[in-house]
């Protein structure tokens, strides 16, 4: 999992979790793999990422060196800056570890670079139960006009 992906992942699929963002990273193995550098792409991707989340994620795995905490548009002409963003966003990879939901503490394992965001059968059953209870509630009470 690269940090670009982390920047877009949430645990809001868990019942009771509202935003589930950002997920905390615990890494036991980090790899760096070379990816072709495309400055235009980096310039275009910067406005699409949550920079604060990106910076904190990079910092939490020890890769924030030289990465400014806030980003200014004048940096877009700075090749060293773009290269640094490229490296941390696309080349640094969490190979083994886990992600933690900021609200529930639920952990999602990362193995061979692939985060497992699937819910367990119990979590799925609970979600379905909650949905049926909710539907039933609305079926029973919603048609009734409110009387005081």
């Amino acid at each position: 999992m690269k940090l670009i992906t982390h920047n877009m992942l949430t645990s809001k699929c868990l019942k009771g979790v509202v935003t589930g963002y950002p997920l905390a990273i615990s890494a036991t193995n980090i790899k760096v793999t070379e990816v072709d550098f495309n400055p235009d792409f980096i310039v275009r991707i910067i406005p699409k990422i949550d920079w604060e989340v990106f910076w904190k994620a990079a910092d939490s795995i020890g890769h924030s060196d030289g990465l400014p905490q806030t980003v200014e548009s004048k940096l877009h002409d700075n090749n060293d800056f773009l290269k640094k963003v490229h490296r941390v966003l696309l080349e640094v990879e969490i190979d083994e570890g886990h992600l933690t939901c900021p609200e529930s503490g639920r952990q999602f394992p990362i193995t061979k670079g692939i985060p497992n965001m699937l819910l367990t059968e119990a979590e799925n059953k609970f979600a379905m139960l909650l949905k049926s209870a909710n539907d039933l509630y609305h079926e029973v009470f919603a048609p009734m006009p409110r009387q005081i």
Binding site: I4, L9, K12, V35, F41, P115
Partner: protein
């Protein structure tokens, strides 16, 4: 569009992951037909849902080197296969073991691609996360597709494009109507009759 190299895959793995077939290649052909349109759009982020062997998203990544490609699959073995197909073809692909798109934040993807499990089956058949999940579509072969349709408006950027493969039994007219309610126009990109299946690829856009 080139067909990705696939000889790295151990054939036994196709007992667990859907082996690329006519539907996969129709989808690649449809994307190839769209190549000029997509080049003009210059997409930044592309996502394939249920990537299986990874052959479609890898073909896309090879044709669009300036677009970052992502994929999800509910089957962990499919995630590993997609990842290895991409790396054997030397393209960037980020893969997440996920149910459809449920764990992505809103409005990031410019292109969304889905070759769903479209075969008509019993409703219960489409609850697996193994090889059965790659084809069992439940009632009308649409149960999984319909779940994704509800998420499309949120997952796509405002001018994002969605490519969906269906067969006639899925009642494409109904799907178009559902998407129209969500504000999406539909165009037929490509269709093909294969054995006893009539497969079509539809493009949805706002």
């Amino acid at each position: 569009m080139d067909t990705p190299y696939q000889n790295h895959i151990d054939k036994d793995e196709f007992n667990y992951v859907y082996e690329p077939a006519e539907d996969s290649f129709l989808l690649i052909d449809a994307l190839e037909k769209e190549i000029d349109f997509l080049r003009k759009k210059n997409p930044l982020l592309c996502l394939e849902v249920g990537s299986g062997s990874g052959v479609v998203i890898t073909a896309f990544a090879m044709a669009f080197p300036h677009c970052l490609c992502f994929c999800t699959d509910i089957n962990h073995r499919a995630c590993l296969m997609s990842q290895s197909t991409a790396s054997h073809n030397k393209v960037f692909l980020e893969c997440v073991n996920m149910n459809l798109v449920t764990c992505f934040v809103d409005k990031k993807f410019d292109v969304l691609i889905f070759n769903p499990p479209y075969v008509e089956t019993e409703s219960n058949d489409c609850l697996s996360n193994g090889i059965v999940a790659s084809w069992a579509g439940g009632i009308k072969g649409r149960e999984i597709t319909d779940k994704l349709l509800d998420m499309v408006p949120k997952i796509l950027t405002d001018d994002g494009i969605f490519y969906l493969l269906l067969i006639k039994e899925n009642i494409p007219e109904e799907v178009k109507e559902i998407m129209l309610q969500k504000g999406f126009q539909a165009n037929l990109v490509l269709e093909r009759k294969v054995k006893n299946e009539h497969q079509i690829v539809i493009k949805f856009y706002r």
